[in-house]
Amino acid sequence: MAIVTASKKACSVNPLKMSQPIGGSFAFMGLRGAMPLLHGPQGCASFGLTLFVRHFNEAVPMQTTAMNEVATVLGGLENLEQAILNIYNRVEPEIIGINSTGVTETNGDDVEAFIRLIRQKHPQLEKLPLVYVSTPDFKDAFQDGWGKTVARMIEVLVAPVDAARPRDGSRVNVLPGCHLTPGDLDELRTIFEDFRLKPSFLPDVAGSLDGHIPDEFTPTTIGGIGVDEIATMGQAAWTIAIGAQMRRAAEIMQARTGTPFRLFERLCGLMPSDEFIAFLSEISGRSVPSKYRRQRGQLADAMLDAHFHIGGRKLAIGAEPDLLFDLSSFLHDMGAQVTAAVTTTNSPVLQRVRTEDVLIGDLEDLEELARSRDCDLLMSHSHGRQAASRLNVPFLRVGFPMFDRLGAAHLTTVGYRGTRDLIFDIANLIITDRETNHGPTPDSWPSPAVTCRSIRPSCIEQEEKPLG
C-alpha cells in the first residue's frame, strides 16, 4: 500500500505533467474527420500541436479559437462562433471537439450555452456534432483530459438503446486509456479479431496516428472511429475499459446503454494478459488460438532469460498514473524494486503501486529520489533524458511525449507479445549499461584498508641467476 503525497514545492522543476486540454484534444484525434479545437489563446494549441507532431512525426489537426487579450475581456462567444464556422466551411469536418483552457475557464465562458446560441444562429451546423469538454489547465493532467473527453463523447454521441433489444454478441467496445499507443491498439485489434470479436475503439488513435500515407492532405484526422460507429456502440455485448482513467467512461456507457463493462487496469505482464485472454475466450465462447499459446510460452521464456538482468534493479519511474501503475507493476513482477515513483495527478491506482510512496511531482523530484535511493534504471517520457544522463543510469523512454527517438507510435507493451518485446528491450538496455559502465577492473573492489600497502623496496631480493 503506497502512501500518496503531493509535492509541496512552489516551483515545479522539469515538469512531468502536461495539461489536460491537450489530453482532451488527443482523444478527439482518435475520431475520423475530427478537428480538435482548443478554446483559448493560440499558443495553447501551438504548443500542443508541436508536442504531438514531435511525438508522432505526423501532421496533426488542431485548431484554436485564438483568444486575444481583448476577446478575453469580452468573452469567447464571438471567437468560438468564428472558429466553428471557419472550420466548418474550410475543412468540412465530421466532428469538432472543443476543450476549454485556463484562460477561458478563468474567464468563466459558458461554452455549452455558446454552442446553443451558435447552433440557433447557424442552422447549417445542425448535423455537425460539437462535443465540448471543460478542461482547465490549472487542474488535473493530461490523462484526466483524455478520460473526461471520452466520457463526454459517450454522453453526446452514443445513441441510447432499448434495453430489451438483443445485443450483438460479437461486438465489443474498447475504451483505451491515453497511455496505449497505436501499436498497442493494433495488437489488441488483432487479438480481438483472432477471437472473432469486432472491436470498436473509442477513441482509435491507431487509425489516425499510426503513420500511414494519406492519398490527399486533409486538415482533419484521417482514420479513427467514425461518428456513425460511435452512435451504435450501445449495441455491443461488452465494454472493455483499459486503465482506471476509463472507468468513468465505461460507467457512463453502462448507464446509458446497459452494456456491461470490464475494466483492465493493466495489460502488460503475464498475469494481466492471461486474464485478458481468458476474458476474451469467455465472452467469445472460443478456445484460445494456438498462436497465443505459443506467445505465452515465449513470454514465459523471455521472463526467464531476462530476470537475471531485471531482477533486483532499483527502478525510478515517472509517468501518468495508469502508465505508472501498469509498468511499475509489470517490473515488480519481473523482480525489480520500484524505488522511486512520481506521477502527475491523483488516481485510485496509485495506492496499489508496489512501492513505499508515490509522489505527485515533477522530474526534479524523480531525479532527487533516484539519486538518494540509488536507483539504477530510470523510466519516463523523453524529458527524463536529462536526469538519466546526469545520474548516468540506463533510461527507458515510456509514454508521451517521446520526441527524441523514432517509432513512438509503434511501441507495444500490451499482451504476451508486447510484454515479451518490452522485456527484451529493458534487459538489453541494462546489459548495454553493464558493459559500458560497469565492466570489472582491478579497482572494482578496492581494498578496505585505508591505504594499500605496496611492495616495500627493502623487500626486493638480490637477483638470482636463472636456473635453466
Binding site: 514545492k9 512552489a10 516551483c11 515545479s12 522543476v13 522539469n14 515538469p15 505533467k17 502536461m18 495539461s19 491537450i22 483559448g40 489563446p41 493560440q42 499558443g43 495553447c44 494549441a45 501551438s46 504548443f47 500542443g48 500541436l49 508541436t50 508536442l51 514531435r54 505526423e58 501532421a59 488542431m62 485548431q63 484554436t64 479559437t65 485564438a66 483568444m67 486575444n68 487579450e69 478575453t72 475581456v73 468560438l80 468564428q82 472558429a83 466553428i84 464556422l85 471557419n86 472550420i87 474550410r90 483552457t101 485556463g102 484562460v103 478563468t106 482547465p136 489547465d137 490549472f138 487542474k139 500515407i213 492519398d215 492532405f217 486538415p219 515533477d362 523523453s382 524529458h383 536529462q386
Partner: protein, 547 residues
C-alpha cells in the same frame, strides 16, 4: 488585468521595422496587431516568442509563471547549444493551481524564485508572465522587484503573456525587457576595439561555432551574443560593444535600434547563411568596427580571410553543381531567411521555383525577385493541400521549410530538408553552406523517393482512388490562374504557364520525368504578376505554424 499597453504600442510602432516602414498608415495599424483568425490559426503566442528569444541564455533560470500548459507542454524543445552551463535546459514553472487562480499567484511566484535561488543559485532569473496570471492581475514586476531585493540577484520580469499577440511580438517584448532591466547593468573586465554584439542568433545546433573561429582569427570578440550560448553577465555589459550585427531581421530589431540610440552602437542586418552573405557580414562587421576606431588593417585581414574561405567553399560546392543541375527548390521559411537562403542555394546551381514571402518585407521581396529573376514565384500564403498538390505534380524536386510543414512534402514523396530550429545540422558560414549542400544532395538522391512514389503493385484500386482524389483536389482549390481542363490533359499555371502533363497521369506513371526537365518554370516568359497573389486568399494551415 494588465494590458501592457505602453510597451506593446511602443513595439508596434517600431520605426526600425523594415516592414512597418514600408507599410501605409492603415496597414501599419493592422499589420503588427494582426488579429488571428479563430479556427484558422496555429502559430505561436507572444510568450512563446519571448521564450524563444531569451531561453538560449545558458546561465539563467527561466521561470514561467502560469498553469502547467505554458511550460509543461513546451519545454526542452529547441536545439540551442551551450558551451557552459546547462541550467537553461532545466524547466521552471509555478504550475498554478485552481487555488492560485482564485487567490492570486504572487506568493507562489515569490516562493518559486526563492526555491530556485536556494537550489540552483543562477546568475539571474527570468520570470515569464502568461495569460492566466495576467488576467487575474498578478503583478510580476512587483514580485520580481521584491525578490530581487531579497535574494540579491537579478530577477527580471518578461511581460509577454500569450494572448497579447504573436510570437514575433513576443521576441520584441523580450528585447524590451532586456533593455529595461539588463543591458547596461554590468561592465566587462576589459574592452577592445574589436568587440561586437550579435543579436537574434540562437546558436541552433551550435551553428554560431561555425562562424566564431573566423571572428577569433580576425581578433574580433563577440562581447555578447543575444542570446545563443549567451551568459547573463555578457548581456549586462553588451552596451560596451563597438558594433552589432542583427542576424534575424524581425526578431529583435527594436533591441538593436534602441541600443544604437542609447549607447551609440551601430548595427547592420546580416546573415551567415550562404557564401556571399557570410562575406558581406564579415565585411560589414569590419567596416563598422573600423568606423568606431579599429585599425583599418582589419579590413585587409578580413578580405584576405574572405578570399581564402570563399575559394575553399566555392571549390567544395563546385562538385554539387552537376548533381544539382535542373533541380528545383521550393523554400518555405518564416520569411526572414528567405533571401539569404535563396542566394546560397543559387550559388550551388539550384533553381528556386518558389519562396515564401509571408513574413517578408517588401524590400525582402524585391531582393528575392532580384535574385530569382522575373519568374520568381513568391508564396504569400499557401495551404498545405495546395503545396501537397504542387509537389505531387512534380513542380519541384525538393522543399526546404520548418519542421511542422515537413509532412506536406514527405507525404507527397518529395525530398524535404529542415531549415528551422528543430534541425540537427548546422548550416552557418562557409562550412555550413557546404553542409547544407551535402544534405540537399543526400535528400535529392535518396533512393526512397522512387520507391515511395510507386503504389503497391497489388493495389490497382489504390491508384484509381488516388487519381480521383487528385482530381477532387483540383476542383477544391481556388486557383484563378488555373488553365482550362479538357480530355484529361489540361494546362495548369503554377509559377508559369508552361505546358506540362497533368498531375494525374504524371503520378500514375510515377512520372516525375514526364515533366520535361529542360523546361523548368523560370524558363517561361509568360509569368504574370497576378501569379504571386494566386493563393493569398487561401486559409493558412499547418504551414502557418512553421517556424
Amino acid at each position: 488585468m494588465t494590458l501592457l499597453p505602453t510597451t506593446i504600442l511602443d513595439v508596434f510602432n517600431e520605426p526600425g521595422c523594415a516592414r512597418n516602414a514600408s507599410k501605409s498608415n492603415v496597414e501599419r495599424k493592422n499589420g503588427c496587431t494582426k488579429q488571428l483568425k479563430p479556427g484558422g490559426a496555429a502559430g505561436g503566442c507572444a510568450f512563446d516568442g519571448a521564450k524563444i528569444a531569451l531561453q538560449p541564455f545558458t546561465d539563467v533560470a527561466h521561470l514561467v509563471h502560469g498553469p502547467i500548459a505554458c511550460e509543461g507542454n513546451s519545454w526542452d524543445n529547441r536545439g540551442s547549444a551551450s558551451s557552459g552551463s546547462d541550467l537553461w535546459r532545466r524547466s521552471f514553472t509555478t504550475d498554478m493551481t485552481e487555488t492560485d487562480v482564485v487567490f492570486g499567484g504572487e506568493k507562489r511566484l515569490y516562493r518559486a524564485v526563492k526555491e530556485i535561488t536556494e537550489k540552483y543559485d543562477p546568475q539571474a532569473i527570468f520570470v515569464y508572465q502568461t495569460c492566466v496570471p495576467a488576467m487575474i492581475g498578478d503583478d510580476i514586476d512587483m514580485v520580481c522587484k521584491a525578490a530581487s531585493a531579497k535574494f540579491g540577484k537579478p530577477v527580471i520580469p518578461i511581460n509577454a503573456p500569450g494572448f497579447v499577440g504573436s510570437k514575433n511580438l513576443g521576441n520584441k517584448l523580450a528585447g524590451e525587457a532586456l533593455l529595461e532591466h539588463v543591458i547596461g547593468t554590468g561592465e566587462p573586465d576589459y574592452t577592445t576595439p574589436y568587440d561586437i554584439n550579435i543579436i537574434g542568433e540562437y546558436n541552433l545546433s551550435g551553428e554560431l561555432w561555425q562562424v566564431k573561429p573566423l571572428l577569433d582569427e580576425l581578433g574580433i570578440r563577440i562581447l555578447s551574443c543575444i542570446s545563443g550560448d549567451g551568459k547573463y553577465r555578457e548581456v549586462a555589459y553588451s552596451h560596451r560593444a563597438k558594433a552589432a550585427m542583427m542576424v534575424c531581421s524581425k526578431a529583435m530589431i527594436n533591441l538593436a535600434r534602441k541600443m544604437r540610440q542609447r549607447y551609440g552602437i551601430p548595427f547592420f542586418e546580416g546573415s551567415f547563411y550562404g557564401i556571399e552573405d557570410s562575406s558581406d557580414s564579415l565585411r560589414q562587421i569590419a567596416r563598422l568596427l573600423i568606423e568606431r576606431g579599429a585599425p583599418a588593417e582589419l579590413m585587409e585581414r578580413t578580405q584576405a580571410l574572405i578570399a581564402r574561405e570563399e575559394t575553399k567553399a566555392w571549390t567544395a560546392i563546385e562538385r554539387f553543381k552537376p548533381r544539382f543541375a535542373g533541380k528545383r527548390v521550393v523554400l518555405i521559411t518564416g520569411g526572414v531567411k528567405s533571401w539569404s537562403m535563396v542566394a546560397a542555394l543559387q550559388e550551388a546551381g539550384l533553381e528556386i521555383v518558389g519562396a515564401s514571402v509571408k513574413k517578408s518585407t517588401e524590400k525582402d521581396k524585391e531582393r528575392i525577385k532580384e535574385l530569382m529573376g522575373q519568374h520568381a514565384h513568391m508564396i504569400e500564403d499557401m495551404s498545405s493541400r495546395e503545396i501537397y498538390k504542387m509537389l505531387k505534380d512534380a513542380k519541384a524536386d525538393i522543399m526546404l521549410s520548418g519542421g511542422k510543414s515537413q509532412f506536406v512534402a514527405l507525404k507527397a514523396a518529395t525530398p524535404w530538408l529542415d531549415i528551422n530550429q528543430e534541425r540537427c545540422h548546422a548550416y552557418m558560414g562557409y562550412v555550413g553552406i557546404v553542409k547544407l549542400m551535402e544534405e540537399i544532395e543526400k535528400a535529392l538522391y535518396n533512393p526512397i523517393w522512387d520507391q515511395l512514389r510507386q503504389g503497391a503493385p497489388w493495389d490497382e484500386f489504390d491508384w484509381k482512388r488516388q487519381a480521383k482524389t487528385v482530381a477532387q483536389m483540383d476542383v477544391q482549390v481556388v486557383d484563378p490562374v488555373r488553365g482550362a481542363t479538357a480530355n484529361g490533359v489540361k494546362t495548369i499555371s503554377f509559377s508559369n504557364r508552361s505546358e506540362i502533363g497533368d498531375g494525374e497521369s504524371a503520378i500514375a506513371a510515377h512520372g516525375r520525368n514526364l515533366v520535361e526537365p529542360a523546361k523548368p518554370c523560370t524558363n517561361s516568359t509568360a509569368r504574370g504578376p497576378a501569379c504571386k497573389d494566386t493563393f493569398s486568399d487561401l486559409q493558412p494551415s499547418a504551414l502557418q505554424a512553421a517556424e
